[in-house]
Structures are given as C-alpha cells and as structure tokens.
C-alpha cells in the first residue's frame, strides 16, 4: 500500500490523516488497532506492538448512521464500549460500568439523549455517542475514521471543537481520518498526507501547499484557496486510482 513511510506521532498532538480514497488511511488505522499486521516494517503504539483490544486505544469506526430500527439505548452502547468484550452478564461490575458510561456521556455532552434508542438519534448525536463509547475506557490514543464526513458543516465544527476540548482535558493523542481538511484546520497540529503510495507528515502550513505536495508526489498538484479561505487539493485523486508501478 505504501512504503518507506517513517513517522512519529507526538503524544498529546492532534493529527489529521488526509488523502484520496484507497490511499490506505483505514489500513493504517486497522494496523494501529492490531487487526492487520504490517507486511514489512514496524509499527509501535506507546512503544508496543499493536494488539486487538488494547485498552489504551479508543476507536470511532466509520459509521454513516446506525440502522434506524436499532433499539438499544446510547447509554447501553457506551457501557458495551467499557466491558462489552467480557463474557457473561454484568453482575458485580454493573455500577462501575454505569459510572464510567455516565462520565463519558457527560464529557461529550450526550447525557440528555442517552436513554433514547441509538437508531433514532440524529447524525451528530450518534457521532457523539460513538465518541463517548471511544472515551469510556480512559484511553490515551483516540483513533477516528471519518467522524465528520456524514455531518453538516455546523455539526462538523461543533464536533471538531468537542474532540479538541476533550483531547486537551484528557491529554489524548488524536488521529483522525478526514475527507476535508477545512473544518479541522484551526485545530490540528499535524497532517499526515497519504497518496500514491507515499506518506508525508508535517504541520498543515508545511504540507498543504502546491509546491510541497507537487514535490512529494512528483506530479502537478494544486492547492487552491477560495474566497472564504477554504483549502482544496486538486490532482491527487487521479494518482490514487492509477498508481504507477
């Protein structure tokens, strides 16, 4: 998928993973989660080889919406994030799971609708539930796969702000896959750009420029700004769908 990629993610930083479809963003997340092993090379999370079920990692999968018929309370979902991997029914740990879920729901401001069925919540509310679920085990690393892609612009802004605030308060390292860098620009420390089999990392100002991206990918890439200051990267999509050798 990509080769010769070496990068470190600073603890406590907020990094956006950008790049066209099929460039390996989700593959990277899955590798960090220990669900895929790198075919060559090494990846370490807090100095250790990734393994499935690592409690130091909170994960928000790519989830457009839940099935509207899904009849389980948001609160139950967050509790499952806490101890859903354990066998049996909750007997002694019930109070602990409930308290952990409550704290997590409060942290994302989802307490008000946590007793409603997950399937009936709005897209923004569902993303907050997913975030609450990811935070419930007090992780140190937060992995989010396109948490913004299915939200409208207003909700996108609120969500990024929330992620930023929670991450600061809990001293979390955040790795977030995004399709569009714009709602993230005011908040992120780094971008990890993946395209055409290459990975490059730096601050947004360093990486997202016509010169730098063209140089990295040795093909004409253009960074365009519109009248409202929004950034668009043109020219990488084709590279991804027709990779060279």
């Amino acid at each position: 998928m990509w080769s010769r990629a070496t990068f470190d993610i600073e603890a406590g930083s907020f990094t956006a993973i950008l790049g066209p479809n099929g460039s390996g963003k989700t593959t990277l997340i899955r590798t960090i989660l220990g669900r895929l092993a790198p075919s060559a090379g090494k990846l370490e999370v807090f100095g250790r080889t990734p393994r499935r079920g690592d409690p130091t990692i909170g994960y928000v999968p790519q989830r457009p919406v839940f099935d509207p018929e899904l009849s389980i309370r948001g609160r139950d979902f967050v509790e499952l994030g806490f101890d859903g991997h354990r066998w049996g029914v909750r007997l002694v740990g019930r109070a602990r799971a409930a308290a952990a879920a409550e704290a997590s729901l409060d942290a994302v401001g989802a307490g008000d609708y946590s007793d409603q069925p997950l399937g009936r919540l709005s897209g923004g509310e569902q993303q907050r539930m997913l975030l609450a679920q990811a935070l419930v085990g007090s992780p140190r690393l937060l992995l989010m796969d396109e948490p913004l892609s299915y939200l409208d612009v207003r909700n996108q802004r609120a969500m990024v702000q929330l992620i930023r605030d929670v991450a600061r308060r809990r001293e979390l390292t955040v790795l977030l896959i995004a399709h569009d860098v714009n709602p993230l620009l005011p908040h992120i420390d780094h971008v990890l750009y993946m395209a055409a089999g290459k990975v490059s990392m730096g601050t947004p100002a360093e990486i997202i420029t016509t010169e730098r991206l063209s140089e990295i990918y040795s093909s004409p890439v253009e960074v365009v700004r519109d009248s409202r200051g929004r950034v668009f990267v043109v020219g990488l999509e084709e590279e991804a769908s027709h990779p060279h050798g």
Binding site: I72, R73, L80, G84, H85, L118
Partner: protein
Amino acid sequence: MVDAALHLTITNPTPSWNPFDDLAMLFHYDFMIHAFQAGTIVAIVAGSIGYFVVLRGSAFAAHALSHIGFAGAAGAIVAGVSPVVGLLAFTLGSGAAIGALGNRLRGRDVTIGIVLAWTLGLGVLFISLYRGYATEAYALLFGEILGISERDVVVTLIAGVITLVALVVVYRPLLFSSVDEELASAKGVPITLLSVAFMAILAVAVTEAVQVVGVLLIFALIVTPAAIAIRFTSHPPYAIGIGVGLALLFTWLGLSVAYFSPHPVSFFITSLAFATYLGVRLSEPVRRALS
C-alpha cells in the same frame, strides 16, 4: 341410532366461566399439564433468544433454520429414528454454516434462501418415502404440543437450560457485536466464533420450539414477542423480559383457549401474537400523540 352397538359423542369441554373450575379442568389431564410445562420452557427460551434474533436482523435465518430442520426431521422419520434427532442435526449444521457466513454479509439471505429451497425439496422427498400416516409430518409442520410426553418435557427442560446458560455466557459480547461488529472486533471480540455460537444456540431453541408451534409457525414465538418488546423499550434486559412475558402469555392463553375449542393450539398462539403485534403497531401514532 337405536340399533347402534356403540355410540360415541365427542364434545369439547365448555368453560364454566368460574376461573377456579376452569383452571381445574385445564389441568385435569396429564397431556394438558405436559403441554403447559413444555410450552412454558419453550416460551422462556424463545422469548430470550428472540431479542437477539431481532437485534441482529436474523429473522430470516431463524425462519430458514426451522424449515431446513423440517427436512432433517422428515429424513429421521424415514430412517426410523426420532424426528428430534434429525431436526437438531440439520438445524445445528445449517446454523453453524449460516453463522460462518457472517452476520452482515451482503447476499447472505440469498444464499440461505437457495439452501432453504433445496432442503424443503428434500423434505418433500422424505415425506413421500415415508409410507406411514401424514400425521408425523403434520405435527412437524404445525406443532403437536398436546402430544408431549413426560419424557419430552424433561428433554425440553434440559435443552432449555442449556440454551439459557449458553445465552448468559455469550450475552455481553453478543450484544456488542450485534450492535457494532466493527467496534466489537476492534475490542477483541471473536466475531465469527460468536456468530456461529449464536446460530448453534438458535438451532437448539428452534428445535425445542418446533414441538409447540411447528416449523411453519416458529416466528410467532421467536420473532414476534421480541419485535413487540423493542417497540416499548430499548433497554436490553427489559426488552428480553417483555419478550419472555409475551411469549408466555401467548402460549398459556393459546393453550387455554384451544382446550375449550375444536381448533388447533398453534392457530391460537400465532393469532394472539399477530393480533398483539398489529395492535401495538396501529396504536403507535396514538401513543406518540399522548406522550
């Protein structure tokens, strides 16, 4: 009439409308006691597992399991062994295969449907090969709760306890993977193992329930109570509780009404389930307006 050597008139018992007398009448015969015992066990198991069937969107798989089981049971009759053996073998085998196909796999239902059609064909062949009465086949298709022996009740109880214990063991990870497979997998939940285990538990539950309602009517006890329950609560333990309660109610009422009527028990159980579901769905706009 005058010259008849033997004259027999069969009349149905009529309710006295005195609840104590009627209850005494209901439990007067052993076959009714056995029916109530087996029906109660089956209702508890079916109501519990039904919640997961509905949550996982496996209603069709549950339905298919019972029909595939029909071929197994018919084959067992031809082979001269107990139909329950064939039923269990076929439901377990196909359950494990369906489980291994994965829960959310696109096209899974198409695959199930194709296998289902073929096994029903097999079932027809077995029935034609069996030169006995059609009553055995009839009992499989529509249930024969009034023909349950004391030994059957014990077997049902053992199977029921096994299914419930298994369900308790897998409860949390099963719930997790039913709600979000991707997340559960990332947390280390063995998705495929759970999926196979769930279908195996369901296979045993279906085999039990077939005695009461038959393969064609299995929906009434497994899917309908749970489908009603989740319209009232999205709190999983409550939903399971309501589902079990409804399954018990349908079974008990169905048995009681059928006792005083010439019509089959299965008809009353399925009709009660359907009428309740219909009533709940139709009253939803009203209840929403009131709340």
